[in-house]
Amino acid sequence: MLKTFYVAWREFTSTIWTKGFIIGVLMTPLIMLVVAGAIALTKNLKGPRLIGSIAVIDESGRVAQGIKTRFSPEFLKSEKEQLVKSVDQTAKEGADKIGLSEDQAAMASGIAKDAINNALSKADLTIEELPPTIDLAAAKAALAAIDIHEKNRPEGSPPPRVAIAVVPAGAVTPSAEGVYTKFELFTAQKLDFEIQGRIENKIAAAIVDARITSDDRIQRSGLTPEDIRALVKEPDANTATLTKEGEKKNAGAAQFLLPMAFMLLLLMSVMTGGQYLLTSTVEEKSSRVMEVLLSAVSPAQLMIGKIVGQMCVGLVILTLYSGVAVASLIVFSFMHVLDPILLVYLFIFFFIAFFIIASMMAAVGSAVSEMREAQTMMTPIMVIIMLPWLLWMPISRAPNSLFSTIMSFVPGINPFVMMIRLTGSEPTPTWQIPVSILVGLISVVICAWGASKIFRIGVLMYGKPPNVRTLIKWIRMA
């Protein structure tokens, strides 16, 4: 017992205290956090404030005023208020949909408002109207030579022209076939794409206003452009799933993301530990340290020790990653989407999945003499790892279908299937959980038994890697 512990401890520490593990496994979440933080920071950085003018050549004679209005301080202010209001509304609806509390909704809309403020305060643009008779080519040439950044310009010089918009008459009045022409927008170099997008949108909106106001039919009906816009806006759906327990708000993407996250977590922790187990077993064989170890411990003690050691490695990963996930859920008061019992199941199914994969890894590792020989024998393990990826979509779509139920009892993949189902949108029938766990435990016992047979013979075999028939012979032999 003590010997098994020593083996496990060595296996655990020699895996954990390597650069590869610390950088690859422990640092990854940290690096991701830093990168995410950095992106958030740079996004909040205010760009250089832009002061400038837009020249409008209005060949239709109906749009320039509209554009001017849309760039006026009053309009900008009301636009901002409107936007904030609609963000509030969206946040409320969204919160309703996934069941957020008031606080969280307020937090979300606060974040959105900050973003709006940042975006809107970046530019201070005025409109100058140019007569259609102006020399466009010369104006364009002048625009090409302009440096719009204030710091690069002589002090006290007037705000630069940053864009020229040309609105042809055809943009407002359709041709005989009912086709509108496009408007043209020429911008100076280095104009922020966000500001450019805003300019485009405002001019387009002004053109649409002009179209509406100049249409006789609409004039007669007395509808304003605002009325028309409200009329043509497509409504959103308010979706709910009807279950026996009552109405369940449809969580949309979350319905797929939670099972995905749990499956990934399980796969990652199981595979990392399993992979390390394979590597260390092959290494012990190829460096011929195996028989030295066997002089002190029995093959069974060695194998169990190694599996337990790597299980601790997998547990570290699982605890770390799920801990980070739970912590961030708590920080954002999102914990209610996650039933704590799911974490208990996660760990139960981790043990089952890990022991199955680890037994196979130990068997493969002991049977081959070199890492590259192991690749050909990894097929059954690869199948177990790949199947959950293929099954994720169909199962999370219909967690209680016959197919999903059957898959929950297939040894090897059932821990993954159960994790997808348990975190899915429909409650899993209660009896299936213990039965699936039982199936898992039985397959663990069988796998460990077979692996220990293969391990005992394999660890001393060098030379040609055995085929499946030889492995079966080994299992039956001792």
Binding site: K3, Y6, R288, E291, S298
Partner: protein, 324 residues
Amino acid sequence: MPDAIVTRRLTKTFGPKLAVNSLDLNIPTGSICGVIGPNGAGKTTTIRMIMSIIFPDSGELSVLGKASAVESKDRIGYLPEERGLYKKMKVFSFLTYLAKLKGIDSPAASTKVANWLARVGLGDVARKKCEELSKGMQQKVQFIAAVIHEPDLLILDEVFSGLDPVNRLLIRELIDEQHRDGRTILFSTHAMYEAEQLCDRILMIHRGQKVLDATMPEIYARFDPRTMLVQPIHPDAADSLRAIDGVIAVDPVDIDSFELKLRDGTDPIDAVRRVAMAIPARRIELKRTSLEDVFIDLVQATGDQTIKREDLRTNTTLEQPVHA
């Protein structure tokens, strides 16, 4: 005192190959026994069965009074033929790890490892990684790993292979010391010379079967020396030597010495006396039968004429005898 190792009709096959065939063994406690035989004779298989690393197809064995080595693993020190180290592990941690696996508690393990490393002159590499050590150093580390827990029985498989003469000598002294401390030692080698130097018992295996199991004095008594080395004071003594009763051949060796072959059944002691009376000699020596000769005689007596001296002398460059 009961024998340290007893086997009865021990048999092991690998597929069609009979690796060990109905082997009976008695290794008395406190003896130092060499298992010799050419490559593939079944030495390692026998040792692995004694160690319960593989299991016999049939037959019984007892190790230190127990039915299996598993029950007395901590009392056995084993240096396998296939031996290695954890490449990335530090020498000190590797040895303390193995010591702990062999049932020594942590603080005692550190002290013992430090003492042993100092003894074999590896004190300054304790904090190095195993892969940084030379092959000879690695062998010494492996030897320490086998004896660190002061076992009652020491089993060393091909302990001298791959060692340079200096380290062979060192290991030989260490083995001898272990023997003097009262430990039973069983070691296999295909280098007969080392066995001759160290053992008080020899077990010869050929094709999975025991061909000889005897103490060294028994072997010397049983296999009479029939070769004599004579260095006459006068170099032209060949004819006088040839005339001596019992001498059937005289071959010159070196510049001034002769090798005399004695007729079967001739008492070597009488022959020495007769030579001494026949000529004035600087040296008269009865050559001891070498284990190699014994082995070849025994194998050929079984009707197997295919055995060659070369088979017993693999790695000749590395395994030339060294005189202390």
